[in-house]
Symmetry: C2
Subunit: 220 residues, 2 copies
DNA sequence: ACGGCCCGGATTGTCAACAATTTGGGCAAC
DNA sequence: GTTGCCCAAATTGTTGACAATCCGGGCCGT
């Protein structure tokens, strides 16, 4: 196995991935010397990456005590879901206002992939097409600022999201909600797009709350 | 003059201040060696601070070519105003839902300061009390995630904001808008608070657009 | 003149050694 | 047994030197 000779395409991005994918557990210590070996880059680079992820909220650093993966509380998860809702609702409206013909076909294409994933009961594909559909909406809206913030917020939710997807009946409901969003955007109806996105993310938040409650009582 | 012996209370914060206050011009190069002398800290620390501000969007860094103050385009300023509106509207609703009696008096106090600043025609005090009032709303809402994002967004707008404040009649209008927001939050009326905040920030965005247009044609 | 070429200064990127701090554990005193 | 103390290992923070890169200006051939 190669431990170091890999090309280093931005340590911060790789660390971010490892955290959002759950490969690094919340509160796990991030020791600079170890990361140096894992990613094959200098300690100075590790330090810069940790500083960035700290700024981003994925990592906490205490003076002279190093960095740890930031554990988000239940209350904070709700905050994130709320904020995400507020922004994504605006983005949906903007997407409806700015969608061209090519955008509509692209959007419908993404939705088709999502439907296929649901009928195939492929959770992984569903998750991916879900993300792809939302990215498509962001692209159409053309609001880079909002997109950047949403990406960060979602990176925080990702660690919990898999529980929501696994709730019984969730994929079908989610599919119907996305259908409404896509239709509204393709119709150029900003009000409807905003309302549909609000319904979708309110539903998501509801299920997230349920999952959190279940986890709290269920033990882990 | 002392150049170095000052206590270094977080370089990133001081650099951020210098940028948002307009002491460092857009596109101005940030040379590590120079900053080392100015802030009296090591180059490694300067590098970490620049990495954080890059992550935050206040600075751009190109490989082997150093860092510059990021220049935000007119279109981006609008994006930021839009996104700010979307989040702050949600925060206003949450503040209305969660305001206690002490919060109400604190909020009214801030509003009083703002009114005083307007009657005194003190632009600086107005700007400060404006920021303080919004911070108070954030505190009451208790949504740390949204507050953090809003703080970042406003740091980007700050470089342009002074132009909006100087528009004739703006302080009086702004005062009336804030009156409505404060009243709604104190009344615990989430819908009204959201609507009032939306009116206020839509108005702000309108004036910002005007200021940008004026600057584009006016020359500077 | 003019275009390409090369060089030297300025600047960023990398690295290893050193200093300072925290942490955990053993040892002694009570 | 427990409390407090102190030391050693682990880890973070700092520093300076060196390598790599970019940029402007002069130089040469045409």
């Amino acid at each position: 196995m190669d431990t170091a000779p890999r090309p280093p395409p931005d340590v911060a991005a790789r660390l971010r991935d490892a955290i959002t994918r759950g490969q690094l557990m919340p509160n796990e210590r991030l020791i600079e010397a170890d990361l140096t070996k894992v990613y094959g880059v200098n300690r100075a680079n590790i330090r810069m990456a940790l500083a960035m992820l700290d700024q981003e909220g994925l990592v906490v650093r205490e003076p002279n005590r190093g960095a740890r993966v930031r554990a988000i509380t239940d209350a904070e998860a709700i905050e994130i879901a709320d904020t995400r809702l507020a922004i994504e609702v605006m983005v949906a409206r903007q997407a409806a206002a700015r969608a061209m013909d090519t955008d509509r076909t692209a959007l419908r294409g993404r939705f088709g992939e999502m439907r296929d994933a649901v009928t195939a009961a492929d959770y992984s594909a569903f998750s991916q097409s879900n993300a792809a559909l939302h990215r498509e909406i962001h692209r159409i809206a053309g609001n880079a600022t909002a997109t950047r913030i949403l990406t960060t917020l979602k990176s925080h939710l990702m660690r919990l999201q898999y529980r929501v997807i696994l709730l019984p009946g969730r994929p079908d409901q989610s599919l119907a909600e996305h259908q409404a969003i896509v239709d509204a955007i393709c119709a150029g109806d900003g009000d409807a797009a905003e309302a549909a996105m609000r319904r979708h993310l309110t539903s998501f938040k509801h299920h997230l709350t349920q999952a959190i409650e279940a986890a709290r009582h269920g033990g882990f």
